[in-house]
Amino acid sequence: MQKRLKNNLGLGGWLSGGRYGIERYAYTLHRITGLGILLYFIMHIIVTGSRMGGPEAWESMMASFEKPIFKLGEFMIFIAFAFHGINGIRLILVELGAMIGKPGLPSFPYNYSTLRQRPLFVAVMVVAAVIILIGGTDLYFLVMK
């Protein structure tokens, strides 16, 4: 069995982008949003299980989440999902070798792989921002009703 190298960077390695640029921070944010969504999802499964008590039990459960703080929390989860999902599509495309350009000889001015992937990163961030804006507008109308 191949010996696994020790990860000496630990949590600091997760949080610091170092010289790797914006994509490295997207990686960190991808993990943070992933953990947040997982935590919410576990609570969501338990809360939505109250449907088994019938409409009254559901209404009573939902009444306890009427406070603005819960609406804000829900919107934060929406933002996290928009980022995690759209960035995840970029990661899958890159994993499958799509939209990263063809390999070539290193000639000056150097065009390294991260730079070739950057337009894809910018495009997915714009898509995520548009989705977040739509979700925010919907929340505004819901609160103002």
């Binding site: 696994r4 020790k6 990860n7 630990g10 949590l11 993990r31 992933g34 953990l35 969504i37 997982l38 999802f41 576990i42 499964i45 338990i46 939505t48 299980g49 449907r51 088994m52 019938g54 409409p55 559901w58 209404e59 939902m62 929406f78 999902f81 999902g85 995840g88 599509i89 899958i92 994993e95 739509i134 979700g135 507008t137 919907d138 929340l139 109308f141 819901l142 009703k145």
Partner: protein, 125 residues
């Protein structure tokens, strides 16, 4: 199961989650905007809307599919993050076991709830 197979299912589950959760988020968070153009039923968490959706076979099936895909993707992701911290082999086994038990337990509970509500015909609006 070999790690490469688990990784393949992690990515496959991610695609399923993006599609199904995207649909779920669309219903839950864009309902107000959609109701302006005559689509969507407004407040998606009202009990009439919740039970109306839950008692359709399509939604029941997609809830269970989303549950399985999201739990696998989430817990495998968590396990991968923890493994990167250079755990001992005993701790790795413990983390894998806890993630598997938590994932399967939540899947069983969530699926049971989805099927239970689907069969509650008397609360159809």
């Amino acid at each position: 199961m070999r790690e490469s197979k688990l990784w393949f299912w992690h990515i496959t589950a991610a695609i399923a989650v993006v599609v199904l959760l995207g649909m779920h988020m669309g219903i839950m968070h864009v309902g107000e905007i959609l109701s302006f153009v005559g689509i969507g039923a407004g407040d998606a968490v009202k009990s009439a809307n919740v039970f109306h959706r839950s008692q359709q076979a399509f939604f029941m099936a997609t809830y269970i599919l989303l549950l399985g895909a999201a739990l696998f993707h989430g817990f495998y992701g968590l396990r991968s993050m923890l493994f990167e911290l250079s755990l001992s082999s005993g701790l790795e086994k413990a983390v894998s076991g806890i993630c598997a038990v938590a994932g399967i337990g939540l899947f069983l509970y969530g699926s049971y709830a989805a099927i239970y509500v689907f069969r509650m015909k008397e609360v159809l609006p």
